[in-house]
């Protein structure tokens, strides 16, 4: 690594999911992050989506915690409305000039009460809702935006256009946050590395008339459909035809609008995500309107990701969604008002006309011009398809050192790939700047914790108005007066906004002055705000767990708007319950566990080596376990990447680096036989080829155990000598074996062993691989006849170029389906292949010198053992099941263990490398800490009540409970459960299932819950009972 100055800070450009992930990983691993966002709020495209495939999770719900985490992280500084103007310096030491456009709102003061927006007289088209609805000139991008601060659209604001007009938002703002004279700010930022994550924009189908967009009201883009389906969208989740608000009976999806098209746009590539998006949207529509008929018109269904083909199959079987392989030329007005006529040739070559009530255009992804400008300013190269130019071996590195890139800017990709890329880019920056770790980050110090006295509670209650959110419905004065009457409450305060920074300071001061020992905040959700109040308690010197929140906003004011009297009573109930619970709350202290700064990596293929080198480069010790006698794994059989880069050379380099790296210990011919422990401290037993066992202590584990190839049973493999599998072919080809040197005719058969009933998944890399081999054969001898028999060509992303190149070279592609598989017979020369042509609808016969079977990638049979040893889940195809397919693609629910490469799912080399870097980033965040704090909200065994019935063991999703033998004081032996606090997540399932009160969750124990229930059942009698000592009450903030 080059010597020189290293600044322990990173600038991430782009606040979408990829940029956010990179920022969080870096900040968690000891680097300060400047997160530069072009718009007024981070989040990127994900908040616009309704659901995510293939799990149908709500997109907003899964991204919201990440948004909040970014917004609150003390080592992330978000700069919105910002643009990078200039970059100077070199890797390790960059200076960035960032221009922050005026927001016209003081972010420190704005309390996001929304009064400004309510009164603003200007309405304009809302970009966030894809122009389907209006927004005001003063607005927030979306309700959950981070930062949750209003901004003024200077283009439409009346006052900014003419200072004699309007300006009423300034008059109404209770926080005096409006600054009409705001000017651009210029930031000079010093960082060691830069990560570009500028994202994508959706293709605008209005560019060509054929799609009827903007001409026919019932033609919508898929982005618009996402907004319509979203419950928070412009129609509140109701799908109706824009022309007449009627419920559609039939809907068509047109795929590849703005993708795979050299004619109507210059986007030759495949956008990778639209097939799955269309399936998801179709399923969502079916859930809403089961009667609607949906047809998806496609060229190739590209469902190449993990569990995607299952989703595709399910959409047909369970939801009866129709698929037609036809590209529609254009849309015409239909038979009824508002309907659309689609004219096409069906799969039998017959002319068909169909009418649809609505048409959805599955628009592609493209790089926005602003990203191209950014790339030019940074001096980095871009591809002909206008994405960042990257090597398959360095999938997140740009052409300029110290500048990394992730997300859709690296080529069109879905959310997990973006998340993986974000983490991978973070790993690369961390490796570069490891010497400067913790150099720029801050730790906040808190005063020493005051002793908590039990028995005489001194509770403070804070009733929040939340602007008008709560006070507009609930009689807050009445509620506050009532709260004074509750036992243990010695102080009640009303706040306009409890979460505002100045209120926090005020609460801190009051806790000290009034000597409060616990507080109840009657405001909003603990999910988003409790961590904030915990910080406040810590600042005031009391235990951070001595707080209870009563959610009188989301669960009261918002949902009972029309019955304010009853809402006020409910608020009293909620506060009474919170007070009852917090009275019994004991201080809790997180358990600190020392972290062993060593990683164990299982698998010495490209994935394992990549993770190992990154972690070792960051200064961590790595134990690399490889079962065979050679490093390299499946890549030993590969010749080149899709972009034509030479794999054997790279592999040799990688092996050398691994052996040279001092921090890595390689264990060849070694397997793992057992493991105990938890994140930060695992003890794993390994066994060498000679049978010697050894225990390794390590803080993190990465599973990179790879996959296995399928040995075909189909197509006379092993019977006809000239039928070979693709890996064998590669070897023969490399040595130019006689059958190849003299071969004139080659037939590739795709999906051998993949996408069938036994293995309903796509092996992802075989289409690309066969096409590459075919191109090479053709280039060697142009007269060769080469045929590729396929089911769908899945050259996703920029790989589409090699598919196009192959056809230009005259390689013949013939589509087959499972009901008409090709047949092979022994021929005079080699083999006689028969296949049914999908265009001409007649059988064809090919005399092939060699038939190459693109056989499936299988899960490694060793995965089962590893899964048992580490208690990890596998999916039904035998691949490891990650914690969350979208947002936690390398993690497990068990902390400290990560997965990468083929062990996770079949994938090409660059995706394995990217994922391995991501796994390294996750491991380094853990390993860089001296100790980790384990959440103190855990299950505790009640030694008196537990009789060792073991009911809870099966129920525990984290394998934290074990059955042990113990002896009572009188020496009697009996069984009892033991809970590992490091593994326990405090979910409470064991407490719920235990029939004997043998287990308690700290902070949610039986007594607390009972007290809460009793309080709930007790009628609210604010005025009937006088309390012994009426506490003082002030109207402060």
């Amino acid at each position: 690594m080059p010597e020189g100055k290293k600044i322990g800070a990173v600038m991430v450009v782009g606040g979408g999911i990829a940029g956010m992930q990179a920022a969080l990983d870096l900040a968690d691993a000891g680097f300060f992050v400047y997160l530069i966002e072009k718009s007024g709020a981070i989040g990127g495209a994900m908040p616009q989506f309704d659901k995510t495939y293939p799990t149908n999770d709500c997109s907003m719900c899964i991204i919201a915690p990440k948004l909040v985490e970014c917004g609150r992280h003390r080592n992330i500084k978000i700069i919105t409305l910002a643009e990078v103007e200039q970059i100077q310096g070199t890797e390790g030491d960059f200076t960035a000039h960032v221009k922050e456009s005026p927001r016209y709102i003081d972010q420190e003061r704005c309390i996001a009460c929304g009064q400004c927006s309510n009164i603003c007289p200007v309405s304009t088209e809302d970009d966030f809702n894809c122009s389907l609805g209006p927004r005001k000139a003063i607005f927030i991008k979306y309700p959950q935006a981070v930062p949750l601060k209003y901004e003024i659209d200077s283009g439409v604001c009346l006052h900014l256009k003419n200072d004699k007009e309007c300006g009423i938002c300034r008059d109404i703002c209770p926080a005096e946050a409006i600054i009409f004279h705001d000017t651009p700010k210029h930031h000079e930022i010093h960082v060691g590395a830069i990560i570009l994550a500028p994202g994508f924009q959706a293709f605008n189908p209005q560019k060509r008339s054929i799609w009827g967009f903007g001409k026919f009201p019932n033609v919508l883009s898929s982005m618009q459909l996402e907004r319509i389906l979203a419950p928070t969208g412009p129609t509140g989740g109701v799908l109706a035809r824009p022309s007449d608000n009627s419920s559609p009976k039939s809907i068509a999806f047109l795929q590849c609008v703005g993708s795979r098209d050299k004619n109507h746009c210059n986007n030759e590539y495949c956008s990778s995500v639209c097939c799955m998006s269309a399936i998801k949207e179709a399923i969502m529509i079916k859930e809403l309107l089961p009667e609607v008929e949906i047809t998806i018109f496609y060229t190739d269904m590209r469902t190449h990701g993990k569990d995607f083909d299952r989703y595709f199959n399910r959409s047909q079987k369970e939801y009866n969604i129709q698929y037609t392989r036809a590209k529609i030329h254009s849309l015409e007005p239909g038979d009824r008002k508002g309907s659309l006529r689609l004219h096409y040739a069906n799969e039998q070559g017959r002319q068909v006309e169909k009418f649809f009530d609505m048409v959805i255009l599955s628009v592609g992804l493209e790089t926005p011009d602003s990203a191209i400008i950014l790339a030019e300013r940074m001096g980095i190269h871009i591809t002909p398809d206008r994405f960042a130019s990257i090597s398959a071996f360095m999938p997140v590195s740009t052409s300029k050192k110290g500048i990394f890139t992730c997300g859709a800017f690296n080529g069109p990709r879905d959310i997990p790939q973006a998340v993986i890329g974000g983490s991978a880019a973070a790993a690369c920056a961390e490796e570069l700047l490891s010497a400067a770790r913790f150099q720029q980050t801050a730790e906040i110090s808190y005063p020493e914790e005051r002793h908590h006295q039990e028995g005489q509670p001194r509770i403070g209650v804070y009733v929040c108005h939340c602007g008008t959110n709560i006070a507009g419905v609930i009689d807050v004065d009445n509620v506050a007066t009532y709260a004074r009457t509750l036992p243990g409450v010695i102080h009640v305060e009303q706040n306009l906004f409890s979460c505002a920074q100045d209120t926090q300071d005020f609460i801190t001061q009051q806790i000290r002055e009034k000597n409060l020992d616990s507080i109840v905040v009657a405001a909003c959700s603990p999910r988003t705000h409790e961590p904030l109040f915990r910080q406040t308690l810590k600042a005031a010197g009391i235990n951070e767990f001595l707080i209870e929140m009563a959610n009188i906003r989301n669960q009261d004011a918002w949902v009972h708007k029309n019955t304010p009297g009853m809402a006020t009573e409910k608020a009293k109930d909620l506060i009474r319950m919170a007070v009852a619970k917090v009275t019994l709350q004991k201080p809790l202290h997180p358990i600190k566990v020392p972290v062993i700064a060593r990683a164990l990596i299982i698998g010495g293929g490209v994935s394992g080596m990549t993770s190992a080198l990154n972690l070792a480069g960051q200064g961590f010790k790595v134990e690399l376990i490889e079962k065979s006698s050679l490093l390299g794994g499946n890549a030993l059989h590969l010749y080149q990447t899709w972009s034509g880069e030479h794999v054997p050379l790279y592999l040799k380099e990688l092996q050398e680096k691994v052996f040279e790296q001092e921090n890595i210990t390689v264990h060849l011919k070694t397997t793992v036989t057992g493991s105990t422990g938890h994140a930060g401290h695992f003890k794993t037993v390994i066994k060498s080829g000679s049978g010697r066992k050894k225990t390794i202590e390590h803080g993190a584990t990465i599973i990179a155990s790879g996959g296995k190839r399928y040995i075909p049973k189909e197509f006379s493999y092993g019977k006809i000598p000239n039928v070979v599998a693709s890996i064998e072919f590669d070897k023969l080809h490399m040595h130019n074996e006689v059958r190849i040197a003299n071969g004139e005719s080659f037939v590739f058969i795709q999906c051998v062993g993949s996408r069938n009933t036994q293995r309903p998944y796509c092996s992802k890399s075989c289409c690309t691989h066969s096409i590459q081999s075919a191109i090479k054969l053709k280039k060697e001898v142009p007269s060769r006849r080469i045929y590729i028999l396929y089911r769908e060509i899945r050259t996703y992303g920029q790989r589409e170029r090699i598919y196009n190149q192959a056809r230009e070279l005259g390689i013949i592609f013939i589509n087959y389906e499972l009901h008409g598989e090709p047949t092979i017979a022994e021929g005079e020369k080699g083999a006689l292949v028969q296949v049914y042509d999908h265009v001409l609808h007649r059988p064809l016969e090919i005399e092939a010198d060699l038939v190459i079977l693109a056989s499936a990638t299988l899960s490694n049979p060793d995965s089962k053992d590893l899964a048992n040893i580490f208690k990890l889940p596998l999916n039904s195809d035998g691949f490891f099941q990650e914690a969350h397919v979208k947002l936690r693609p390398v993690e497990f629910n068990t902390d400290g263990i990560f997965v990468t490469g083929l062990a996770h799912y079949p994938k090409p080399v660059e995706e394995s490398i990217s994922q391995s870097l991501a796994a390294a980033a996750k491991a380094s965040a853990l390993l860089s800490k001296k100790t980790i704090e384990l959440d103190p909200i855990t299950a505790i065994v009640d030694l008196e009540h537990c009789d060792g019935c073991a009911l809870c063991i099966e129920a525990c999703p984290y394998a934290a409970i074990t059955l042990v033998e113990t002896a009572t004081s009188d020496g009697e032996e009996h069984k009892i459960v033991e809970i590992d606090p490091a593994l326990c997540k405090g979910c409470g399932i064991c407490q719920g299932i235990c029939p004997k009160r043998g287990v308690n969750i700290t902070g949610f124990d039986y007594d607390q819950l009972l007290a809460q229930i009793e309080a709930a059942l007790q009628p609210a009698q604010g005025h009937s009972q006088a309390t012994p000592a009426p506490p003082e009450q002030s109207h402060g903030k």
Binding site: R260, K262, K327, R350, Q351, H841
Partner: protein, 485 residues
């Protein structure tokens, strides 16, 4: 199984006139019995045969399940038992460039765009596929490339920019000349021998022109005489031989406009033909000869500009020929499209138009040669110019949908009007007819002879359109404001 059908429903389904259906029934081509009401009873089998013949998906089909089986269930494939065709891998002699077939990714948008997809079991995608796989004999034997009107709609929709029209023309060119549809081949031969497609002798032509000129002088255009072989005229115009042969008065629309605009123009007495059917037959030598004659006339008569007033294809073929074989001439003289010239007259106020004579609902039919194909080849499609001109004459204007670059061909292009494939031509035109019907327009304005003939003489009758069809110059000539001289 027996079905009850109504004649008009069946006529609509197959894109033919009601009388055609009745004729089929009367002649026994479509066996049917009289049923209740004004219905007929037909056997399902007979209906299917008819569908097969017309390449239509049967509208009525009880055996078709309403639910499409999922992709992984067994689907019967109709042809699997037929003898397989051996792929020889012989490189195609039909074309040399991959862009003519190889780059196709079989997405089917060409087949979706084509109004005669399925006729003879073929469509543009299949033709491209057959060329690519080397099924040459079959392709050359097929009449499909001649039923295709070379309208270019398929090519416009192709995401891979496969040059389908060029391939189709190459297929036509590869046929022995004796097997080219005879009216087309005869037209070309006559033109090469006698200077015009219909072999009109020079004397007859001259007599006709001068007598027409005299008539004009006596009626609307006092002082008019037909300028033949006037050296040094600014503008040379060609003639479509069909006009002097059958509709001589149609020539006078332009003459009236020239008279009003005080244009200096002339007609050549020799080789005056503007039509170039070699574009259709794929015969490049003949095409070049016919274009060269026009170049010769331009030079002989020392004109500065050329107008091919009669037809979209004449403009396209001549301009293409000039570009390809005589590029230097494009430096020497201007080639006008009808729209260029009319717009020039209007903008220079050499003519003024009256918008009170054509008050019926009017729409433009965009001719493929002036529109889509010109845009691709020459970079200009005249869509807005034609609308400006028509709307200056017709205040009550509407559009056919789709239009401009996405327009449907009338069905008679590419030589189809002259070719023997009448049924297919009418079927092709059913799309156009539907567009016209849906637009409710009563006057259709076009700029091409074939388009006008097809819509006025064929589609109007077959589909009861009840429309008037006018050339754009006819409309202009009839809308000229009379200036008191």
């Amino acid at each position: 199984m027996v079905y009850e059908v109504k004649v008009n429903e069946l006529a609509e389904e197959f894109g033919v006139h009601r009388n055609t259906i009745r004729n089929w029934i009367n002649s026994g081509t479509l066996p049917a019995q009289e049923g209740p009401g004004r219905r007929y009873l037909i056997q399902l089998e007979d209906y299917r045969k008819l569908c097969e013949k017309y390449g239509r998906t049967p509208r009525i089909d009880v055996t078709q399940s309403p639910v499409q089986p999922p992709l992984d269930t067994e689907l019967p494939i109709d042809n699997f038992d037929t003898e397989p065709s051996l792929l020889t891998g012989k490189s195609s002699s039909l074309y040399s460039e991959p862009a003519l077939a190889d780059t196709c990714n079989t997405c089917g948008s060409c087949a979706s765009s084509c109004p005669i997809s399925g006729v003879d079991g073929l469509d543009p995608r299949k033709i491209v596929r057959m060329a690519f796989l080397g099924f040459e004999e079959e392709l050359l034997a097929s009449d499909w490339p001649w039923k295709c009107t070379l309208c270019g709609r398929c090519e416009e929709s192709c995401p891979m920019n496969v040059r389908i029209v060029e391939l189709m023309r190459a297929l036509r060119a590869s046929r022995p000349r004796g097997k080219v549809p005879s009216p087309i081949q005869k037209g070309i031969t006559t033109c090469l021998e006698k200077g015009n497609n219909l072999g009109i002798p020079k004397t007859d032509f001259m007599d006709l022109l001068s007598s027409l000129g005299k008539e004009l002088h006596n009626s609307d255009c006092p002082g008019f005489s037909t300028p033949i072989d006037v050296r040094g005229s600014r503008l040379l115009i060609t003639i479509n031989s069909k006009e002097p042969f059958a509709q001589p008065e149609n020539m006078t629309w332009w003459w009236r406009i020239f008279h009003a605009a005080k244009e200096s123009w002339t007609i050549s007495s020799e080789n005056w033909e503007g039509v170039n059917w070699a574009l259709y037959s794929g015969d490049d030598n003949a095409m070049k000869t016919i274009v060269e004659r026009i170049v010769d006339n331009m030079e002989r008569l020392n004109c500065q500009a050329l107008l091919l007033p009669e037809c979209g294809h004449a403009y396209y073929a001549t301009r293409l020929g000039l570009q390809r074989w005589f590029p230097e001439t494009l430096e020497k003289f201007t080639v006008y499209s009808v729209f260029d010239l009319l717009m020039e007259y209007i903008s220079e106020k050499r003519i003024t138009l009256d918008n009170t004579t054509h008050t019926q609902l009017t729409a433009i039919h965009d001719s493929c040669n002036y529109g889509r194909k010109s845009l691709k080849t020459f970079g200009n499609a005249f869509y807005e110019e034609s609308r400006a001109i028509v709307q200056a004459c017709c205040p009550n204007y509407t559009e056919l949908l789709p239009n401009r670059n996405d327009t449907y061909c009338c069905g008679a292009g590419g030589g189809a009007w002259a070719s023997p494939y009448t049924v297919e031509r009418v079927y092709y035109g059913s799309k156009k007819a539907r567009q016209i019907k849906e637009s409710k327009a009563k006057l259709i304005v076009t700029s091409c002879h074939n388009c006008k003939d097809q819509m006025e003489k064929s589609l109007n009758r077959e589909f009861d359109l009840d429309i008037e069809v006018k050339y754009i110059w006819e409309l202009v000539a009839q809308s000229l404001t009379r200036v008191l001289s």
